[in-house]
């Protein structure tokens, strides 16, 4: 009678009985099965490691800095991260929108207005691109390594820009930097949408 799978696995792991070992030594079928079990374990160990699809570090860093209680997950942290960003951007927007105080320098007021005019379209474009991207993200699909690499690269860039934007305080007087970051954000989002659109079109061929 042939040994069970459990007996063979125990033997493979160096814990088998002498009786099983003796049987396997004489039975080509069981010897072959033993070899197969070894081979499966070896092949599983040889499977490639997988890279997380998005960079979780910025959200993790934020949680660590703020001593946030343990999150239920990346999506929840992502939501907190997004909410904080929206809040901070909103605050800066409110500051920019405020009418200049009576004692405010007229030239400063003019600069605020100019900044608002520059940021408004960029923020609107950013929102629109994010909407398009969300639609693509909802679709599951196969993609090449090159495409996955490009998307990962662009998303990494986006995370860095978002981090920099979130670190700019609402009262920071760095309008050029703010505009540059928003321009960069729009550029990265456009590229991401384009890559996803191409990927979708290729999938239909």
């Amino acid at each position: 009678m042939h040994p069970s799978d459990e007996d063979l696995l125990a033997l493979r792991d160096g814990e088998g009985s002498a009786e099983t070992a003796d049987h396997v030594a004489r039975c080509p079928r069981c010897a072959s099965e033993m070899e197969r079990l070894r081979s499966v374990a070896q092949d599983l160990r040889g499977l490639p490691s997988l890279r997380p699809p998005s960079d979780a570090w910025p959200a993790l860093r934020l949680a660590l800095q703020e001593g946030t209680p343990k999150s239920s997950g990346l999506s929840a942290l992502g939501a907190v991260w997004a909410a904080l960003m929206v809040l901070m951007l909103g605050l800066s927007f409110v500051v920019l929108m405020r009418q200049p105080a009576l004692h405010e320098d007229p030239s400063a007021a003019k600069q605020r207005l100019a900044l608002r005019e520059k940021l408004g379209p960029l923020q609107a474009r950013s929102r629109s691109l994010e909407g398009a991207l969300a639609a693509y993200r909802g679709r599951q699909g196969v993609q090449s390594a090159a495409t996955a690499g490009t998307i990962a690269y662009l998303e990494d860039g986006l995370a860095i820009v978002d981090l920099q934007l979130s670190l700019l305080k609402a009262d920071d007087t760095e309008p050029d930097k703010l505009v540059r970051l928003w321009q960069e954000r729009v550029k990265l989002l456009s590229a991401l949408v384009e890559v996803n659109a191409t990927r979708g079109a290729m999938a239909q061929i």
């Binding site: 696995l9 374990a41 160990r45 490691s49 997988l50 997380p52 699809p53 998005s54 979780a56 993609q143």
Partner: protein
């Protein structure tokens, strides 16, 4: 994957709250932790959540790391527990064996230039492994790949060593069926064979 040599200076700095050191630790282990999550859990989003939860715990409780063993093994233990908690929450009785017809994941499809035969074999194995129930996957991966003993697996899964042994045997029997063609083959594999 977890047996990276420890850098005591980085660990010491991270313990003191140095964010750069913490990021170094995160970058060192993000792939092993995510891979472990992906192998044990069916949904990729859950693997991301395990990654996040694991590092939140690791980096916040680094002072509690006594250094008895390598840091990577401590991180792995935390990640395994996070993943197993999710599997336990779903209940061991649920048969979540994937039906034939699963498609290749993006990672599977995106793997670079292996020779066709080796690629097909590897995809075959990945597809077969993916079709096992989460409990079976966890036992096979923890025992055959990560090297945990049945006693350790039993302790982590709050089961007996016999449970771990029988799960391993049943999982290998299923894998044998899937790999030797005694099953309905996934369409992606059929397509690759005919192309």
């Amino acid at each position: 994957m977890f047996d990276v040599p420890d850098d005591p200076l980085v660990i010491a700095r991270a313990r003191k709250g140095d964010l750069a050191a913490m990021e170094t630790l995160y970058r060192t282990y993000e792939e092993p932790v995510y891979t472990l999550g992906r192998r044990l859990l069916r949904r990729p989003e859950e693997a991301e959540e395990v990654l996040q939860e694991t590092f939140l715990e690791v980096l916040k409780s680094l002072r509690g790391f006594r250094g008895d063993g390598p840091l990577g093994f401590w991180i792995r233990k935390i990640a395994v527990n996070k993943a197993l908690m999710r599997i336990r929450a779903r209940g061991h009785g649920a048969d979540d064996t994937e039906p034939a017809g699963a498609t290749l994941s993006e990672e599977q499809a995106g793997q670079p230039s292996l020779k066709a035969g080796a690629l097909l074999e590897r995809l075959h194995l990945e597809a077969a492994f993916t079709r096992l129930s989460e409990v079976a996957r966890a036992v096979v991966w923890l025992h055959d790949v990560e090297g945990f003993t049945h006693d350790e697996i039993a302790q982590m899964m709050k089961k007996t060593p016999s449970f771990s042994k029988s799960q391993l045997a049943r999982a290998h029997a299923r894998l044998r069926d899937y790999l030797t063609g005694d099953h309905e083959e996934a369409p992606c594999i059929q397509a690759m064979k005919t192309s």
